[in-house]
């Protein structure tokens, strides 16, 4: 087997050195009646060529985003990632390294995490950030738990504009932790009265901007209300690129900002792995979940970096830890920080502008269609259409024509009576031809 270096002769020599007669002597602790002689129902080893064929055949049964006019978003976005990014994250020294618990030989990982944390803080307009979480939705769940810890309250209020999957993650966690959650009704046009939902029991309000329907939200008044009631404002985003163009939550008073970082540096990957971003105020840093990289000095006085504040973490504090989380999304955060370092403020804001322009162009093109209505007053690169027929069927019909039209709201909120709504995202990848194809398709099928 190509991955296994030992020969049978070596195996025999090693058994002799150990002083046992056979390999099975080393497995003697397994109860005799539970021992297996192998895995008879599974196929035996395959050559690399065969594996490529098998998996290649499966892959070929999927339509890649770049192979079609593509307008699917709702929490994950198709962007162009420079070839440099994927090249660099595959460097052996990054790819095959471990969590940097031995900082003297992990300064590469640690320095990029320190740079990553600084970038995330700047992007979100916050003071500090952690070294990444699994994804945006789990970061959102962790934000609520952190708000409980900070406020010593246990009731979260979820906006009706929060991505339904994020809301489900929070509700699942809260149900299990026996905390309270108030979820507002789906809020297509960003008109809900969140302020009214905040009281002295509220630990936090969780609100997304751009929200799941694409609306941009000014959080300033809500932040004031939260702070007046002693609650925290948790701001969520699913499109990190939006922060290149719109006011970041940190500038509107948010206490915790979490979001999905996939748009920067990371591919769609059918949903994962992604990279959760988590930022907060300096004063809450010891309540923050997840891994943190900090600056220090070595024995010679030279600057260096280490994982720090690990007394919050499970491997030290066990059942008193701030979170059970053990890994971060290391390699995805590396991709994120490389892409962000390439972009810089200048590239980021231009790229964000191009996304917005493409969405505006699509909006304008769609206005000619009597079959559809754009519901948004504001948006970044995604908005909601009202169709004359159920959106799910329209999406399937367009898919059959090779057009990926977007996400039917009914897929995210089944049974909510929003079957005629379609979420449409447009990024820098869309061309005039893509837009024309979508308009033509909707004209025919919507």
């Amino acid at each position: 087997m190509r991955y296994l270096p030992l020969s049978n002769i070596e195996r025999a020599d090693m058994l002799a050195r150990i002083g046992v007669a056979s390999i099975d002597d080393l497995f003697a602790d397994i109860p005799a009646d539970k021992r297996r002689a192998g895995l008879a129902d599974l196929p035996t080893r395959k050559t690399e060529m065969e594996v490529e064929r098998l998996l290649g055949r499966m892959a070929a049964r999927n339509t890649a985003a770049s192979a079609a006019p593509f307008f699917v978003g709702a929490g994950a976005y198709k962007h162009h990632v420079p070839a440099t990014v994927d090249h660099l994250i595959q460097r052996s020294e990054f790819l095959t390294s471990y969590t940097p618990y031995q900082p003297e030989i992990a300064q590469g990982t640690l320095q990029y995490l320190f740079e990553f944390q600084t970038q995330v803080a700047a992007l979100t307009g916050m003071e500090v950030a952690n070294a990444s979480m699994y994804d945006g939705s789990t970061a959102c769940g962790e934000a609520v738990l952190m708000a409980h810890r900070v406020t010593r309250r246990r009731k979260a209020v979820l906006s009706g504009g929060l991505h339904p999957h994020y809301a489900e993650v929070v509700r699942t966690l809260s149900r299990m932790a026996e905390d309270e959650v108030v979820t507002l009704a789906p809020d297509v046009s960003a008109t809900e009265d969140l302020l009214a939902a905040v009281d002295r029991e509220t630990s936090c309000v969780v609100v997304q901007t751009p929200d799941v329907f694409g609306n941009l939200r000014d959080l300033s008044a809500l932040a004031e209300k939260c702070h007046a009631e002693g609650a925290l404002l948790v701001a969520v985003f699913t499109e990190a690129l939006s922060l290149g163009l719109v006011t970041p939550p940190g500038h509107m008073g948010a206490d915790i900002v979490v979001g999905e970082g996939q748009s920067i540096g990371n591919g769609l990957n059918f949903g994962g792995p992604y990279v959760g971003l988590f930022a907060t105020r300096q004063k809450y840093v010891r309540q923050m979940p997840g891994r943190l990289c900090g600056q220090t000095v070595d024995a010679d006085g030279n600057r260096g970096f280490v994982l720090t504040l690990s007394t919050r973490e499970q491997h030290i504090r066990r059942d008193k830890a701030t979170s059970n989380i053990c890994t971060n999304s290391g390699l995805c955060s590396l991709a994120w920080t490389i892409h962000m370092s390439l972009l810089g403020s200048a590239g980021l804001s231009r790229l964000a502008r191009l996304n917005h322009v493409n969405a505006v162009k699509l909006h304008e093109a769609l206005e000619s269609l009597p079959e559809v209505e754009v519901l948004n007053a504001s948006y970044f690169n995604e908005f909601t259409l009202r169709l004359k027929t159920p959106a799910a069927a329209v999406v399937e019909a367009l898919a059959a024509r090779g057009i990926m039209a977007g996400v039917p709201v009914s897929r995210l909120l089944p049974g909510a009576g929003l079957d005629d709504l379609l979420l449409v995202a447009s990024t820098e990848i869309n061309t005039d031809e893509d837009r024309a194809a979508l308009v033509a398709g909707l004209k025919e099928h919507a």
């Binding site: 049964r61 070595d298 024995a299």
Partner: protein, 496 residues
């Protein structure tokens, strides 16, 4: 050479990504335009390339040398798997595309699930957990849901956790409201069924047992422990971090396990990537299967379907406890893990487990005369555990010894874990090391051990001497945390 921070040499007006300047347009931002400069430096592509290549050169990886990190399973990461995960049909597919356009992706998930079930002897699996600890959460949530379903939510609130467990175990249990009750480990490093029997009762929700355990031993009484727990009306959660030792040799399903997470990044070699991403599917017994979270894949006559809502799941007779993450799990890791499984096959995976155990025992046997073994000179599974009693009076600590390994060109082993062993050193060579490589490694450790015993303390207490950094001050980092770069105070010109 030192490598500056990007903030110290990057320019705020520069970019390494060409983007077409958009035409003039009417903004639809609702007055929320960002007005600050954001403050992120941009690097030209050559600058970025050099920065990250140089940073990488300060790192140690499996590809650069032996990485004997016990409990972490740093094995070879085949590049075939990287290539497969990057096929556009896997890497460039959106989680919310119409399911008709992702049948191959769903087939892959279904195939991976089938392999995991066969390998573990379990009837169900939840794929969506994003890491090992997330898998633990998933399994414990399923247990909590099952308990609630039986109407025992108010009473069964205690989880038994051996002292030797990973920190994630008690943290996970506590996170969802359970009270953790420690189970002492007996002198031989394993759990005594009588300890469990004494603790298990009508208040017990579950036991969380790692097997093979963190001392590198297979729990010989695991079947009896499972029976005790089940007899008490509780569930057996198995931490599967060390499943890599027994693939093809024993099946958790045969041992009475109700839930076990599988670290795809340990057992099936998806890269650790400097700390993630991981992937932690959870296999479930019949008693828990119905409570698995959404989403999941079902096979129908018309192809594969994704069940994404609780309502849809209910229609399938399931009672999902909820949702763990926005989408369907770590697809990128699924592809890599299945590529690993297909490559090894049944024969290769069994051989891999055997070689992992063989290598660990070989290291153990070759060091047994110099280092001390906390539980006597007996075979281990995939990792060899030593304590620090042999270092007594040398002035050298476990940490010093570990740091001195760096100077010999090796990554240190896991130290000070498991907590039940004083000054623990946990060595897991994995099946990826050749005998020649192990012999060099053993020789280096023997040389160090003899130096320590000889009283050459300086070689250890100042180590590492030959690394990108000398020993780093972790206390200072924690006391006054500096978690981000801030611009230096502007130096005021005296003439101003």
């Amino acid at each position: 050479q030192e490598e500056a921070l990007i903030f110290e040499f990057g320019r705020l007006d520069a970019t390494g990504v060409d983007v077409d300047e958009p035409v003039a347009f009417t903004s639809r931002l609702g007055g929320l335009e960002r007005r600050d400069g954001i403050g992120l430096p941009g690097l030209s592509e050559p600058e970025a390339m050099r920065h990250y290549v140089r940073l990488s050169q300060k790192n140690y990886g499996i590809d650069t040398g032996v990485f004997p990190l016990g409990s972490c399973t740093m094995k070879h990461n085949p590049r075939l798997n990287e290539r497969m995960a990057r096929l556009p049909g896997f890497g460039d597919v959106h989680p919310l595309q119409p399911v008709s356009t992702v049948q191959g992706a769903l087939e892959l998930m279904d195939t991976l699930a089938a392999w995991l079930l066969e390998l573990t002897g379990m009837p169900a699996v939840a794929l969506s957990p994003k890491a090992g600890a997330h898998g633990e959460l998933c399994g414990m949530m399923a247990i909590k849901a099952a308990i609630a379903h039986k109407g025992e939510a108010g009473t069964r609130r205690t989880v038994l956790v051996p002292d030797s467990a990973h920190g994630t175990n008690p943290a996970t249990a506590a996170l969802i409201g359970f009270t953790v009750k420690p189970v002492p480990v007996r002198a031989d490093g394993t759990v005594d069924p009588e300890s469990v029997r004494a603790l298990a009762g009508p208040d017990t929700a579950a036991i969380m047992l790692t097997n093979p355990n963190t001392c590198g031993l297979f729990e010989p009484d695991v079947v009896e422990i499972a029976e005790i727990v089940h007899a008490a009306g509780a569930y057996f959660y198995c931490d599967g971090a060390n499943f890599n030792a027994i693939v093809g040799k024993a099946r958790p399903g045969d041992l009475g396990v109700d839930a076990m997470h599988i670290n795809l990044h340990k057992t099936f070699s998806t890269p650790h990537g400097g700390g993630g991403p991981g992937s932690g599917p959870v296999v479930l017994s019949d008693r828990l299967a119905a409570f698995a979270p959404v989403p999941f894949v079902v096979r129908t006559a018309d192809g594969f379907r994704l069940v994404e809502s609780e309502a849809d799941a209910a229609g399938q007779g399931a009672q999902p406890f909820g949702r763990l993450t926005a989408f369907h799990g770590q697809m990128g890791m699924f592809v890599r893990a299945l590529s690993y499984m297909l490559s090894h096959g049944a024969d290769g995976m069994k051989q891999a487990s055997e070689d992992a155990v063989l290598n660990a025992n070989y290291v153990r046997a070759c060091l047994a005369d110099l280092l001390s073994q906390p539980f006597g000179d007996r075979p281990c599974m995939h990792e060899a555990l030593f304590d620090d009693s042999w270092l007594k009076d040398t002035g050298v600590s476990t940490l010093d010894f570990a740091k001195a390994m760096i100077d010999e060109g090796y990554h240190p082993m896991t130290v000070y874990f498991p907590l039940v062993v004083h000054g623990a050193m946990l060595i897991e060579p994995t099946e990826s090391e050749s005998k020649a490589s192990l012999d060099l490694f053993i020789a280096a450790l023997r040389d160090l051990a003899m130096a320590a015993k000889r009283g050459d303390a300086e070689r250890f207490t100042g180590a590492p001497y030959h690394a990108p950094r000398k020993r780093l001050d972790e206390t200072r980092a924690a006391r006054q945390p500096i978690l981000r770069w801030t611009p230096p105070e502007p130096v005021r010109d005296a003439a101003e």
